[in-house]
C-alpha cells in the first residue's frame, strides 16, 4: 500500500520550494488517520507520539500552512475555537446555536452556490469547510412553546 493521497500532495509542494519535514508529515498523517475534527492540542498530542519533542508552535504553524495549501480544512466549531480536519473529507457543518447539535452537509448541496459565486466574483473557491449556524427543530419547538 502506497502513501495516502495527502502525503502525495505534500510531496508535490516540494516543486514550489516547500519542504517535507517529519513534523509536517506526522501532523498530516494524524488528521488523515483520524478522519475527524481535531483541535491543535489534540493534534500536538497525537503527532507528538511520532515526533518526540514536537512543539505546539510548530503544530500551529503547520496547521496554518497546510490549511493555506488546501491539505487540511479549518472548521469553525460553535462560536469558539478552531479545529482542523483532513481535506479528504469534503463536507460542511450546520450547528444549532442553542444545543450544539450538528448536521453534516454534503458539498454537493453547495455546488450551485459555489458556481454562482465563482462566476460573479472571479474567485476560485476552495471546497474547504463552511459552517452554518441555526436553530435545530427541537430547540425551535421549545422557543415557540415558550412564547405562546
Amino acid at each position: 500500500m502506497s502513501e495516502p493521497a495527502s502525503i502525495q500532495h505534500l510531496l508535490a509542494l516540494r516543486a514550489q520550494g516547500f519542504r517535507m519535514t517529519p513534523q509536517r508529515v506526522a501532523i498530516l498523517r494524524v488528521l488523515d488517520e483520524c478522519g475527524c475534527h481535531l483541535s491543535p492540542s489534540e493534534i500536538h498530542q497525537r503527532a507528538g507520539e511520532m515526533i518526540p519533542n514536537l512543539t505546539e508552535t510548530t503544530v500551529y504553524r503547520n496547521l496554518d500552512f497546510l490549511a493555506q495549501q488546501g491539505l487540511v480544512l479549518i472548521a469553525h466549531v460553535g462560536s469558539g475555537r478552531i479545529v482542523y480536519e483532513s481535506a479528504a473529507h469534503h463536507h460542511h457543518h450546520l450547528y444549532c446555536r442553542h444545543c450544539g447539535f450538528s448536521v453534516d452537509i454534503n458539498h454537493e448541496e453547495l455546488a450551485p452556490l459555489y458556481k454562482h459565486i465563482q462566476d460573479k466574483t472571479g474567485f476560485i473557491l476552495d471546497t474547504s469547510h463552511v459552517t452554518f449556524f441555526g436553530v435545530c427543530p427541537q430547540c425551535a419547538n421549545k422557543e415557540n412553546t415558550k412564547e405562546n
Copy 2:
C-alpha cells in the same frame, strides 16, 4: 431619535430573564456605531471609554452572549482570529487565502441555499455570517503562470 434597533432587541431579552447592563449596552453600541469588523480587544478599548473599568473577560463573555442571541455576528477572518460585527449588517465574506483580499457577498445570494438546507434539515438557519475561502483572480493568474 430613539435607541437603535439593536438596543431595542436587547431590551426584549429582559423578558427572558437576561439583563441589560451598561457593559452589554456599550459593547453593542460600539459595534453598531462602527458598522464594521472589530476584534475583541478593539471592542474592549472603545467600550472602555464609556465604561471605565471594563474587563476583557466581560467583553469576551458578552460577545459570546450577543452572538448566541443573534445580535452580533461572528466573522471568521482569514485563517486566524475571530472578529465581530453588528447583526445589522447582513452580508458574508469571501477571502482569498493567498493575499487576504476580501469581497462581500450579499445575503440574497445565499437565500436559495438557505431555503434548501432548511427544507432538508428542519433547522432554522441564522442569517448570520458565513465566510468562504478561495483564490482571487490575481493570485490564480500568478499560480497558473508559475506552473506553465
